[in-house]
Symmetry: C2
Subunit: 196 residues, 2 copies
């Protein structure tokens, strides 16, 4: 099996949510696995000078419309949570605290679905812990507070930035970077052809 696809995302990213509903199936179709890599998008924003789309004049209104329109086209539920943007720190830390990758991915999908499928506020640790508990995962409240958990997310974020990751979602396929949910067609074509 060829190398897995790296899927970088921040839990506060609507387009990351949309990508999260598709990336595993796209990869599987090409006999690839996906490594889910939550990171702190705000750290990249400090370098690029960007901020959440919804907070930007003109772009914000369009983005809200495009989030919902893109979701409708995919046939996935979409509801922007309040407050938005939010800090996905607890969610990201929970994913790095869980050692089993498959379990962490299941939790990530459940959190994304709660945040943007149902419009729930997943900022509080208690909410993330509750979602985890629903999946049979106990101990998130304590796990996310461990210094080694916090360090894992910091290191993951540092490594993401070092690889040139500046947005969410962001994919790296055999060293080739793709930014944005709207680059999934290019990702698919890259997987099918080996590049062009």
């Amino acid at each position: 099996m060829a190398d897995p696809i790296d899927f970088y995302f921040d839990f506060s990213s609507p387009y990351g949510y949309l990508a999260s509903t598709r990336i595993d199936a796209i990869a599987a179709h090409h006999k690839r696995d996906v490594t889910w890599r939550p990171f702190v998008l705000g750290a990249a924003f400090k370098v690029t000078g960007q901020r959440a789309l919804t907070e930007q004049p003109m772009r914000g209104d369009y983005a809200r419309r495009d989030f919902a329109r893109s979701a409708r086209l995919l046939g996935v539920p979409f509801k922007l949570p309040e407050p938005f943007p939010f800090f996905g720190l607890a969610a990201s830390r929970a994913c790095y605290w869980i050692e089993d990758a498959a379990q962490a991915r299941t939790l990530a999908k459940a959190i994304y679905n709660a945040a943007f499928g149902e419009g729930r506020d997943v900022t509080p640790v208690a909410t993330v812990a509750g979602i985890a508990r629903g999946l049979g995962i106990e101990g998130v409240e304590q796990g996310v507070e461990k210094p080694e958990t916090k360090a894992k997310l910091r290191e993951a974020t540092d490594k993401a930035l070092a690889r040139g990751v500046f947005g969410s979602p962001f994919f790296i396929v055999d060293g080739e970077p793709f930014w944005g949910h709207d680059r999934l067609e290019h990702v698919e074509h890259w997987l099918a052809t080996g590049g062009w």
Copy 2:
């Protein structure tokens, strides 16, 4: 025939160039015409706080890669001109000075092709006038300096911003806004289905 598609673009926009190679055929396939509307993207940037992608940390390197990669996928030539970004004022004014829409569109395509297909610097009026002359259009040097020509571009830009246009390319289909070359698939689907 249904209303034409509004195609907003700045001549300094690589993704606008890519869209310019496709939009007429997409529209024609759905029995639509396209109104080509050059505008001054810098005026929108003053509102949104954005600047050219290539000038942004991290995003710039990715953008240069993505411009070329997207062009290769489409099978169209691509060469980023030097200097970049540039001011497309002369090019935009020339298009508004020409009264015949079909002729203005032909000139716009020729300028875009010179800028991004061949990597030529189309900032100077003399260069734009030379491209126009190759198409049998004389008098651009004088035409772009007329106060009424300058006023037309200002008004077109004001109207674009008033309609929520903040990027290039930008399309409006029956009142529905789409931003970016990577939204052309949505534009196509909107034309085919009447919206979703």
